[in-house]
Structures are given as structure tokens and as C-alpha cells.
């Protein structure tokens, strides 16, 4: 993506000035801990919806997953459907309202704190905080790389300088302005993303002669799938892969289920339900959130797949070939060659906004997890004092960790970090989070057991069985002398499909075997 015009520079400068203004607004409005942590529980529904959506969708969702659709085809639309139905509707309507109310009843200001207080366990809060603090930098690292690569190529600056600039800008408004600044800037960034993606969809269909014509052209290319992909089960870009084939398993278990369900238990998203004052705000946010996500992942996956038809028509090659085998380059290549130049500028801004909005929430969540959940509540046993300062220091520290990780991790692991983090969250947090909200019989012991089993079984599967991570990590090779300790289909089954059901089962069994939570405490938790 080489585009270096003064116009782009000016536009980015104006954009950054507005971001700084919103960050300053957040700083002015932040007076107490609750403002810094949960935006004073007074956020407008429109801002909630866009902030949730913009945090949810990072550059990698558009570029990385759009590119994956370029290679694997429109089967990824099942993930787009999950993103809307589970990620917005189920999340807001079922999880959102209960999370909001319980957060208020228990005076919780972070996701680990909500669960920890529901089960009256500082261990749960501390362990969850530490888990987020340790593994979220992986996820933040790749978002950072995406954003920095964008700055590098569009402004023609050194990559290291780009990482530094991006980090400093985002850190500045997150550290000073807290969640209010994060959500205000998210809303602006979300709006830019929405506009950019609408243009992308409309231009693409116009360019290819309409909806049906575009799809038909792609369907007609079924016999052009490379042999290596056909062997893996690929049956064309408008067909699902062969049932049970390795590509089918990757598509369904890692992408559709892993990312599609994992989103419900994302701490940086769940905390947002506690930022509004009533359920009406959550319901209104659904109206904005559904179409927003449709325009993000729905458009990215459709356009990614359709790029094959465009490149075949213009260059006689399929997208993966045009992108030199790197699926991450499919979307940039398509946009650069198929879209008008003014749009390319707009889309650059869309991508920068997508990276910054996800990064800011990650920084905020990592900082509060370490500063508030782990340090203050677990180590200091809730002792009041320098919480905000420690949180700010923790934000700075975890940002540093993300930057370092962005440099040292092998590229093959980095590319999978989103799925790893989403899967880990699902296994570790989803059973106790859903139990906390929907099952009064769930006990502290059941929650702790599911947290530990979910975390460690997920990590075990990643390191020893699931080929995509186990091979590059090399831990299994070092200990047992084999790439993976199981063989065959198991090696393509995502950890989420193994660890999450296991953690759910453990949660239920242990809860039923232990003493119920006192009614008095439940009454406080579930108070209307």
C-alpha cells in the first residue's frame, strides 16, 4: 500500500487532532474511579454501540479475515452471521442487561471484578486479571503491528517510528482520559469505519456489474481452485468446504465457533455493558450494533471472496496468487487496484481507526486487569489508595509488553493471536460468566474449577495438540519429540471445542457437589 500524498497527511493530522480533543474531553470528565473504569455508567447508547463494534472489529478482522475469505471463500459469512446474532443480539439482550444490573448491584468496575464479587472470590478476580494481563498483549501486539504497518506504508516512515507514534498517541488518551476517552474516540472511529465499508461494498458490486452478476462470476470459477486447497477440502469460493475436511474444521471450529462464540466472553467488550445507565440504552444500542457489524465483517468477507472474480477478470489470476501467497495482502491489493484513489485515502483512515479503536480498549482493559484486579484486589486485598496511578502504570507496562511481543514473536504465531485469545477467553471465562448471570446454583468452587480447567486445558491443547500453534511453538517437540501428541483430525480441532465444553462440565459437576451460595448474597447480586 504505497500512497503518499500531502492530502492524506493533512487528513490524518485533522483526524488525530479530533482524537486528541475527544481524549481531552474524557480527561475533563473523569473525576472518580468509576469514571475512569466504567465511564461513570452514563454512556449514550449510540456511543456504546459504536464503541462496542469498533473495539470488536480490528484491522485484522477487515484485512486478515477478509483475506482469509479471499482464500477460503464465502463460507466465512457464517462467522459474520455469528458476529451479528451472537456478538450483538445475544450479547446485548441476554448478557448485557444482566451484566449491567449485577455490575451496579455489586459495585463492580471491571469484568474480573464482576465475576469475583458474584462468587465472593478474590482469587477469581486476581487470576482472571493476571490471565488478561499476560495474554491480551499477544492480541494487542498484532493489532499494533497492523496499525504500524499501515502508517509505515502510507506515510512512508520507518516501521519502528510508526510503532512508537501509534503507541504514544493511543497510550496518551487512554492513560489520561480512561474509558470515557476510549469510548468517545471509538465512536468517532466506528463512524469512519462504517462509512468506509459502505463505500467498499457499493464500489465492489458496481465494479462487478451488480450483486447477482458478481456472485455468478465467482461461482463460475470453481474449477480454478489450486490443487493444494482442493486437497484440503476447498470446493470453490461460493461453496462450503467438504464436510470434515481440514479446511472445513479450520473454518468451522477456529473461525466460526472460536471467534463467533469467544466474543461473548471478551473482557474489554463485557465491561461496556456496565457503562450505560439502563436497559433501554442497551436495547437501543442493538439497533445500531447489528447493522454496524453487518457492514464490517459481512462486507469484508464478501469483498474478500469477490476479489477472486475481479482479479481473474483483470489479471487472469486468483487473489492468493496476486497477493504472492500472503492472504493478508489480498484486501490491500484489491483496494489499491479496484477502487478510485479518493476512496483509497478514505479507506486508509478506516483502517487506522479500526486499529486505534481496538488498541485503546485493549490498553485500558490490560491496565485495569493488572492495576485494579490483580494488584489492588488480589495482592493488596482491596486496600484503597493509588489504584488509578497503579492502573496507569500498568497500562504503560502492558503496552510495553505488547510492543516487545510485536517484535519478538514469530510471524506464524502472531497471525493466529486473535483466535488464540478469543478461544482462551471462551474456555476460561464463558462458563463462569454465564453461570454468574444465569445459574444461581453455581458456586464459588464450581467457578474456580471451571476457570482453571478452561485455562489450562485450552493452553495444553494449543501447545501439544492443535497443529497451527503446537508446531511453531515447538514445546511438544522439545518435551515429547513429536510435533503433536495426538494425530489425525484432532490436530485441526480448535481448543475452544475441547476446552470450553470441558470447563462447562466441570463447572456444573463441582457446583452441584459443593455448598450453594448463601441466599442473602444472591439477593444482592440479582436485585432488580
Amino acid at each position: 500500500m504505497v500512497l503518499s500524498t500531502p492530502v492524506l497527511g493533512v487528513i490524518i493530522l485533522v483526524y488525530l487532532m479530533v482524537i486528541f480533543y475527544l481524549g481531552w474531553l474524557g480527561y475533563k470528565k473523569t473525576k472518580q474511579t468509576e469514571d475512569y473504569m466504567v465511564a461513570g455508567r452514563q454512556i449514550h447508547p449510540y456511543i456504546l454501540a459504536l464503541s462496542y463494534g469498533a473495539t470488536f472489529i480490528s484491522t485484522s478482522a477487515i484485512i486478515g479475515f477478509g483475506g482469509a475469505a479471499g482464500a477460503l471463500g464465502m463460507g466465512l459469512l457464517w462467522l459474520a452471521f455469528m458476529n451479528i446474532f451472537v456478538g450483538i443480539f445475544i450479547a446485548f439482550v441476554f448478557f448485557g442487561s444482566r451484566t449491567r444490573r449485577m455490575g451496579l448491584n455489586l459495585n463492580a468496575v471491571t469484568f474480573p471484578e464482576l465475576i469475583g464479587r458474584r462468587f465472593q472470590s478474590r482469587f477469581i478476580q486476581g487470576f482472571s486479571g493476571a490471565l488478561i494481563g499476560i495474554f491480551m498483549p499477544l492480541y494487542a501486539g498484532i493489532v499494533l503491528i497492523g496499525g504500524a504497518r499501515f502508517l509505515e506504508s502510507t506515510l512512508n516512515i520507518n516501521y519502528d517510528v510508526a510503532v512508537l507514534i501509534l503507541t504514544v498517541i493511543v497510550a496518551a488518551y487512554v492513560i489520561t482520559g480512561g474509558l470515557i476517552a476510549v469510548m468517545y474516540t471509538d465512536a468517532l472511529q466506528g463512524t469512519l469505519m462504517f462509512i468506509g465499508m459502505i463505500f467498499l461494498l457499493v464500489f465492489t458490486y458496481i465494479k462487478m456489474g451488480g450483486v447477482v452478476a458478481a456472485h455468478s462470476a465467482l461461482t463460475a470459477m470453481n474449477d480454478l481452485v489450486p490443487d493444494s486447497l482442493v486437497a484440503g477440502g476447498h470446493m470453490g469460493w461460493t461453496s462450503m468446504p467438504a464436510f470434515g475436511s481440514p479446511i472445513w474444521w479450520t473454518l468451522i471450529s477456529t473461525l466460526v465457533l472460536g471467534v463467533g462464540i469467544g466474543v461473548v466472553a471478551q473482557p474489554q467488550l463485557a465491561v461496556r455493558f456496565m457503562t450505560v445507565k439502563n436497559d433501554t440504552a442497551l436495547n437501543r444500542a442493538v439497533l445500531v450494533g447489528g447493522p454496524f457489524i453487518l457492514m464490517m465483517t459481512g462486507v469484508a468477507f464478501t469483498v474478500g471472496a469477490l476479489s477472486n472474480a475481479y482479479f481473474y477478470e483483470t489479471l487472469g489470476q486468483i487473489s492468493v496468487v496476486v497477493a504472492g501467497g500472503n492472504t493478508d495482502l489480498i484486501m490491500p491489493e484489491f483496494i489499491n487496484s479496484a477502487m478510485p484513489e479518493t476512496f483509497v485515502v478514505l479507506f486508509m483512515l478506516t483502517l487506522l481507526a479500526a486499529a486505534m479503536s481496538t488498541l485503546s480498549s485493549q490498553f485500558h482493559t490490560m491496565g485495569t486487569s493488572i492495576g485494579h484486579d490483580f494488584y489492588r484486589e488480589f495482592i493488596k486485598k482491596g486496600e484503597l489508595g493509588q489504584t488509578i496511578n497503579i492502573t496507569k502504570a500498568a497500562i504503560a507496562f502492558t503496552i510495553l509488553a505488547s510492543v516487545v511481543l510485536a517484535y519478538i514473536l514469530p510471524i506464524s504465531i502472531i497471525a493466529r493471536a486473535t483466535a488464540i485469545f478469543f478461544g482462551l477467553c471462551a474456555a476460561a471465562f464463558l462458563p463462569m460468566y454465564s453461570g454468574a448471570l444465569f445459574w444461581k446454583r453455581m458456586t464459588k468452587e464450581g467457578a474456580i474449577a471451571s476457570l482453571l480447567v478452561g485455562t489450562f486445558s485450552s493452553l495444553f491443547w494449543l501447545a501439544f495438540v492443535h497443529r497451527s500453534e503446537a508446531v511453531p511453538l515447538g514445546i511438544s517437540k522439545a518435551i515429547f519429540g513429536v510435533d503433536t501428541i495426538l494425530t489425525g483430525t484432532w490436530t485441526v480441532v480448535d481448543p475452544i471445542l475441547v476446552a470450553t465444553p470441558l470447563a462447562f462440565a466441570v463447572a456444573i459437576i463441582v457446583s452441584l457437589m459443593t455448598k450453594p451460595t448463601p441466599q442473602e448474597h444472591l439477593d444482592t447480586c440479582f436485585k432488580k
Binding site: R41, Q42, G73, M74, G75, L77, W78, A80, F81, I84, F85, I88, F89, V93, S97, R101, L104, V211, V212, A213, A214, H215, S216, A217, L218, T219, M235, G236, T238, S239, M240, K277, N278, D279, T280, N283, R284, A285, V286, L287, V288, G289, G290, P291, I293, L294, G298, T302, K528
Partner: protein, 41 residues
């Protein structure tokens, strides 16, 4: 349908739109519904 042969794909394509429209309808119907609401204050 829609130039796509595999029902598993066009179903997903249509479901994306239906679910997004469903979100709009849900939000609109509940726009002023505060029946089960507890205010923060």
C-alpha cells in the same frame, strides 16, 4: 439463488441481512420500553 449455487452459502448471506434487520426491528420496538428497567441512580 443470488448467483450462489451452494445453499449453505446463500443461507449464510441471507441470514446476515435478516439478523441485522432483526437487530434494527428489536431496537426500534424497544426504543422507549423501560418496563423492566432499574435506573442507575
Amino acid at each position: 439463488m443470488l448467483g450462489i449455487d451452494d445453499p449453505q452459502i446463500w443461507l449464510a448471506y441471507i441470514l446476515c441481512f435478516i439478523s441485522a434487520i432483526g437487530c434494527i426491528i428489536y431496537g426500534a420496538l424497544k426504543w422507549n420500553d423501560d418496563s423492566d428497567d432499574g435506573e442507575a441512580e
